[in-house]
Amino acid sequence: MQLLDTTATIETPERVRFQYRIAGPGPRAMAWMVDVAVQLVFVLALVLVSSLVTMLTGLQGAGTGLVLLGLFVLQWLYGAILETAFGGQTPGKRVFNLRVVRADGSPAGVQNFMLRNLLRAVDFLPALFGIGVLTMLIDRRMRRIGDLVGGTMVVLEQDSKMFGSVSIEPPVTEEERQSMPVRVDLSNEEVRVIEDFLRRRSRMSDARAEELAHLLGPAITERSGLEAPTWERVLTLAYARATGRDREPT
């Protein structure tokens, strides 16, 4: 079941398919704020260097020219230069594990980076990326106009952890084994659901686990006559019996 698809399926030249997570406005806005902070640091450094240049050369104004040139580079080329140099990442994107890639998943180049960063001027309108966010909400891959023109998208490089394998905790006791119905029939889907539930069990509170187990437990009890003190235990026992794990050595 997939409610909201925020992934892009990529097929590499070796015919390998995998899915990228698309980065939405939230993480991208945060990365942008980090970049703005970095740009401010650059501006400060620029002012310092320029006053040094003015002092050393004695030329009034040479430093000012340098500052203006630097401001131009920071305003228009900051993203393009850094993304080209660091494989699609500005410092802000690096902090939030974002990366600019081509829309087909292959690495982007200087042409892509230049265009997407120049078009920032239109995405920013009327204020604070109004047009950009609107376009991101419409586009399936959450691209702003700069991404559409530059042929890029921004992906999230996350490392999600796998949940462990199923453990029956505590193990099925002899008493429980005796009192269980001989057969508990579960559909494949029910097995999958219970399995997902048990693998995530260690990350939930007891109350939450019971709340979730209550969604399926009563139906199983009614159908098979299996009973236990908690709904969670009902699911655990049903799963153990249906998959033959109630006899596993622990």
């Binding site: 992934t7 990529i10 590499t12 070796e14 390998v16 398919r17 995998f18 899915q19 990228y20 997570r21 003015t54 050369t57 030329l59 009034q60 104004g61 040479a62 000012t64 020219g65 340098l66 500052v67 203006l68 040139l69 401001l71 131009f72 228009w76 080209t84 494989g87 699609g88 829309a103 998943g105 292959s106 690495p107 180049g109 200087v110 042409q111 892509n112 230049m114 265009l115 120049l118 078009l119 920032r120 001027a121 239109v122 559409l148 023109v149 042929g151 992906v155 490089e157 490392d159 999600s160 796998m162 949940f163 394998s165 199923v166 097995v191 399995e195 997902d196 693998r199 998959t243 794990r245």
Partner: protein, 315 residues
């Protein structure tokens, strides 16, 4: 496939997967680790397609997708070399070729700039109230002051300031003229018409009060580069707006994708034109050389720009 089989599938491969993870987290060191990463990446991809057909739980698939994505980006995003060289070639050779291919956009942008320019110039020359309607009186006064002295000699430090300012201001305006072409081309049209009208009005106003020669003397050196640069930026913006609106049987995104290389070359050309303009405007235009020298120099610049755009990159 039974639950136990699925567990075994995962357990048999967990070591390999965590090896991919640790190689990526620490960053591969040396040739051996790079080729190891390439090898485990390929194995991981095989595992991923197997896992998908075995219908493993979502979190396992998600984990493998994330690992594969990170490994793919790491392996393939090797920095290409020779970027400055290729950009320079695109700006000097690719750009004039591209501009000739997109000549109708350039022609249209030039009309959108020079027609209001002429309107402004003749309007201000013939009617003293025209300039006041276009520009605030304060601006007109400061312009009058700026161009009223014969010699506009500046210190060389000041030259550098102005060169920096011209880059910041003019290239900025050109980039904005291009970018706002994404609004169905309208942003570019606005900037072209507005700048043409204002510049023309300034020229006409100064001409009407007898300062035309001073203005011409100052601007003659860089106009060829600057005005052409503005028109090219406008042409790029119109090309962008066109690609967005007239998709020619493609999807809208496909239409933009097809236009991208052209836009890129036009923008590199604009940048080069305006950088040269800023250098001339900063370091030459205000120099105390005789007026004739400046006019000859200015005519020469027009010759260079026209020849470059007309013949650059021809085989």
């Amino acid at each position: 496939m039974s639950v136990a089989d699925r567990d075994r599938f995962v357990q048999a491969r967990t070591d390999r997967w965590s090896r991919v993870d640790s190689l990526l987290t620490l960053g591969p060191q040396g040739a051996q680790e790079w080729s190891e990463l390439a090898a485990v990446y390929r194995a991981l991809c095989a595992d991923l397609s197997a896992a998908r057909s075995l219908d493993l739980p979502d979190d396992v698939l998600r984990h493998l997708d994330d690992l594969a994505g990170r490994a793919h980006n790491r392996l393939y995003s090797v920095r290409p070399t020779g970027i400055p060289t290729s950009m320079f070639r695109d700006a000097t050779v690719g750009f004039p070729r591209e501009l000739r291919a997109q000549w109708h956009f350039f022609l249209f942008a030039s009309l959108l700039f020079y027609l209001p320019f002429l309107v402004g110039m003749f309007g201000a020359l013939n009617d003293p109230t025209f300039a006041v309607n276009v520009l605030p009186p304060e601006n007109l006064q400061s312009l009058e002051q700026m161009y009223s002295t014969e010699d506009m000699v500046r210190g060389s430090g000041e030259d550098a300031t102005m060169a920096g300012f011209y880059v910041y201001n003019n290239v900025g305006i050109a980039f904005r003229t291009f970018a706002l072409g994404a609004l169905a081309g309208l942003g570019s049209v606005f900037y072209l018409v507005y700048n043409g009208l204002v510049i023309g009005t300034v020229a006409g106003y100064l001409g009407a009060i007898g300062l035309g020669h001073n203005l011409l003397e100052f601007t003659s050196g860089h106009t060829a580069w600057e005005l052409t640069g503005v028109c090219v930026a406008g042409a790029a913006g119109l090309r962008l707006g066109w690609a967005l609106m007239i998709t020619d049987g493609r999807t809208r995104v496909g239409s933009l994708k097809a236009a991208a290389p052209s836009l890129y070359r036009l923008i590199l050309g604009t940048t080069l034109l305006l950088l040269v303009a800023a250098a001339i405007e900063g370091f030459w235009s205000a120099s105390p050389l005789p007026r004739t020298v400046k006019y000859v120099f200015g005519a020469l610049q027009w010759g260079i720009v026209v020849a470059w755009l007309a013949f650059g990159g021809r085989r």
